[in-house]
């Protein structure tokens, strides 16, 4: 059996989304900017997609939701746009973010630091959550932007976006949130949360890869990252990938309807909880960051004595895809900032495995996964030095 439990990395495209995209490759292929009917023929479905995108995050008609290539581009557009407009050409000097953002935020902020911008990286508490009061403590007169993720990709922990938005509004500082891991899992409402910029990515909610979006509140326009044609009202040049835009629109509609959110809350979380509770029956397992206030699909579990990548190996041998942020597994051997930021038991820093579900997972799959996981833990703990016999003649230095 093959079971995909890495939906925070990417998701399967919903068949309905795929159906809606199909006509835009060989049939309705005009350039939306052309005057002729080949071009204008693309417009009805693009308008429909925009309607779905606006509705999905409750954007007002006078706001902008621009189509980008991915959430990374959306994040770069905001941070570098703020840098150009408010710091290089303004009197601001400072950006606030958190220690556990996606590299699309962290690496961009590090780059700005190299250019002389002051950046504050707020820590998370032991539950892996950023406390809104910290933003109040560090926000200053010369703060140009606060950028805090809506939900964490590793733990699924949901951050107090509404409170942070209120603080930013009080101080008159623009507020950006990377909602990549939140769309389709929890209700995302830019009006309710005082969000000025919001990034998202279609492939995290059963849309295609290579397309994302950026919400920009009215009056918060920025110098574009990409200069060129007049597409997207001049905010993002480049011929729009119509098929992807239509796909993202439909994916948004399917993922953010009241029913879809309820399904996440009631069904996906039930499967996640079943998996999690079965794993927690094993001794010395723990949910990193605890169970409260998470996206319904995610659990990050530490198996004492089992190195994360070796766990992924055994899962993969049995057709299960999951993920770990542990250093060994990533190409560049970087340690996982999230595991480090929690400051949890350092012995556990390399033992975290993330399971992230979607509405396409079935109970049968979860039952199978539970069985495989239990066997893998038994096998790997059998090999593990931390469960090894220590003879009386030996003083363990482990």
């Amino acid at each position: 059996m093959e079971v995909y439990l890495d939906n925070n990395a990417t998701t399967v495209v919903d068949p309905k989304v795929y159906e809606e995209m199909k006509p835009f490759f060989c049939d309705i292929y005009g350039n939306p900017n052309s005057l002729h009917k080949f071009g204008s023929g693309t417009h009805p479905k693009m308008v429909e997609a925009l309607n779905f995108l606006y509705a999905g995050i409750n954007a007002a008609d006078e706001d902008d939701v621009i189509i980008t290539a991915n959430a990374t581009e959306s994040n770069n557009t905001v941070i570098k746009g703020i840098w150009i407009d408010k710091i290089l050409n303004g009197d601001k000097k400072h950006i606030i973010t958190s220690e556990v953002e996606h590299p699309a935020i962290t690496a961009t902020c590090k780059f700005l630091e190299s250019q002389g911008v002051a950046v504050t990286y707020l820590p998370v508490n032991e539950d892996g959550v950023l406390e809104a009061s910290l933003v109040r403590d560090f926000i200053k007169e010369d703060t140009a932007l606060v950028t805090i993720m809506w939900a964490n990709n590793e733990t699924g922990k949901i951050f107090p976006i509404k409170e942070i938005g209120a603080i930013c509004k009080e101080f008159g500082v623009p507020f950006h949130t990377d909602a990549t891991q939140a769309i389709g899992k929890v209700t995302v409402d830019v009006q309710d949360c005082n969000v000025d910029y919001l990034s998202f990515s279609a492939h995290k909610f059963h849309g295609p890869k290579g397309v994302g979006g950026l919400y920009i509140r009215k009056g918060f326009g920025l110098t574009p990252l990409l200069h060129g044609g007049e597409q997207m009202g001049g905010l993002r040049a480049g011929t729009v990938d119509v098929a992807s835009m239509v796909g993202m629109g439909w994916a948004m509609k399917l993922a953010t309807s009241t029913m879809a959110i309820a399904y996440e809350k009631n069904h996906v979380s039930k499967l996640r909880d079943k998996l999690e509770n079965a794993i927690l029956e094993l001794p010395e397992t723990v949910v990193i960051g605890g169970k409260d206030n998470r996206t319904p699909n995610t659990t990050l579990i530490s198996f004492r004595g089992v190195e994360g990548e070796s766990m992924l190996w055994d899962l993969n041998q049995n057709g299960i895809g999951a993920s770990t942020g542990s250093a060994c597994a990533s190409e560049d051997l970087e340690a996982n900032p999230v595991m480090n930021a929690f400051g949890s038991d350092s012995e556990l820093a390399h033992t975290g495995v993330r399971f992230s579900l979607s509405r396409f997972n079935t109970e049968e799959q979860i039952d199978y996964a539970i069985n495989v996981i239990k066997n893998a833990v038994t096998r790997l703990r059998g090999i593990s030095s931390s469960y090894a016999y220590t003879p009386s003649c030996h003083k363990s230095s482990l």
């Binding site: 004595g305 089992v306 190195e307 990548e309 070796s310 190996w313 993969n316 041998q317 542990s326 250093a327 060994c328 597994a329 190409e331 560049d332 051997l333 970087e334 350092s346 012995e347 820093a349 390399h350 033992t351 059998g382 090999i383 593990s384 030095s385 931390s386 469960y387 090894a388 016999y389 220590t390 003879p391 009386s392 003649c393 030996h394 363990s396 230095s397 482990l398």
Partner: protein, 326 residues
């Protein structure tokens, strides 16, 4: 390399079949108890290396015949990724039947080589090489325990890149001999830094005592200093050509000729001269001078005196010197 590096490949796909098989079914995984060691009439040695908090930990068990120093049985336990477990398995296997002194000579490179399916294809991708280093370290730890000596005593040289086992001495030597100026060149020449990259500069996977960037900077500074010193020595001995002199040496050389051959004559007439600048205008060296005292304004300054100065300098220092009064 560029095209191949655009899409990050799955590191698991680059594992040899041996790595895969040994990860799935390690043959030498397990423990040796005191009872088992007694049964074999052997001494039980247990050595730990690494720590779970660092991502890798291995424990090695040996049963050693104390009369012959031969390792009769060898088992391991490991907290680590697939490469770490497979490396530990081969490492334990390579120890069996060897004398302790022979086992100490097993390196991580031997371990990696033993994991290859064929001699020409690495068993693991570069960034996984460091996972085999621990297998090598734990052997030394076990041997040190058996012999009752310090683990460091087995290391005769400072190893900078543990993945490729390149010593400080080797790196310093290639920088000198080949006049290397970049870390990339060091990696090309020695393979140091080609694997886990931790030894290149601070901030990598593992913290090091010494990094390639520092070694390069140190050796380059030494080389620059030596070059200056040898130039100064040659200059003092009068064997250095004008072309190879530094600006300061050139000024000194010219000044000394002026002092001995020119200025006394000028001073007798109530004048003098000073050096303003020396510019390379290859193949010529243009010496800019200014006349002082009664020499300034003297018509001979642009004819007879000038030719005299120029010819003395050309004769005594370099034939390409031209003198230009301003």
């Amino acid at each position: 390399m560029a095209k191949n590096s655009l899409i990050s490949g799955s590191i698991w796909d680059e594992y040899s079949n041996q790595v895969v098989n040994r990860m799935n079914n390690p043959k030498h995984q397990g423990e040796i108890t005191e009872e088992r060691a007694a049964e074999l009439g052997a001494k039980l040695i247990v050595a730990d290396f690494g720590a779970e908090s660092c991502g890798d930990a291995v424990r090695l068990y040996w049963a050693v015949n104390e009369e012959t120093d031969v390792i009769l049985e060898s088992k391991f336990k490991s907290f680590g990724c697939g490469t770490a477990i497979a490396s530990s398995d081969v490492m334990a296997e390579l120890c069996i039947g060897k004398k302790v002194d022979e086992a100490v000579k097993i390196t991580n490179i031997d371990v990696e080589f033993a994991l290859r399916d064929n001699a020409n294809t690495p068993a693991v991708p570069p960034q996984k090489m460091h996972c085999s280093v621990m297998a090598y370290d734990v052997i030394k730890k076990a041997a040190a325990e058996y012999k009752g000596v310090d683990m460091e005593s087995f290391e005769t040289e400072v190893i900078v890149c543990e993945c490729a086992r390149v010593s400080l001495g080797t790196i310093r030597e290639v920088i000198r001999i080949n006049d290397l100026t970049t870390v990339e060149q060091i990696t090309d020449y020695t393979k140091a830094g080609a694997f886990c990259k931790s030894c290149i500069r601070p901030g990598g996977h593992e913290e090091k005592d010494i990094y390639l960037v520092d070694i390069l900077a140190d050796v380059r500074a030494e080389m620059a200093e030596e070059k200056m010193k040898s130039a100064a020595d040659a200059s003092a001995a009068g064997t250095l050509s004008f072309e190879k002199m530094t600006l300061v040496q050139r000024i000194k050389a010219i000044d000394s000729v002026l002092d001995s051959d020119i200025r006394p004559m000028l001073v007798m007439d109530g004048g003098n001269m000073e050096i303003i600048d020396i510019k390379e205008n290859l193949p010529h060296f243009d010496l800019y001078i200014r006349y002082l005292g009664s020499c300034s304004g003297c018509s001979s300054g642009s004819s007879g005196t000038l030719y005299a100065i120029e010819s003395v300098l050309q004769q005594k220092i370099d034939e390409n010197i031209r003198v230009l009064p301003i």
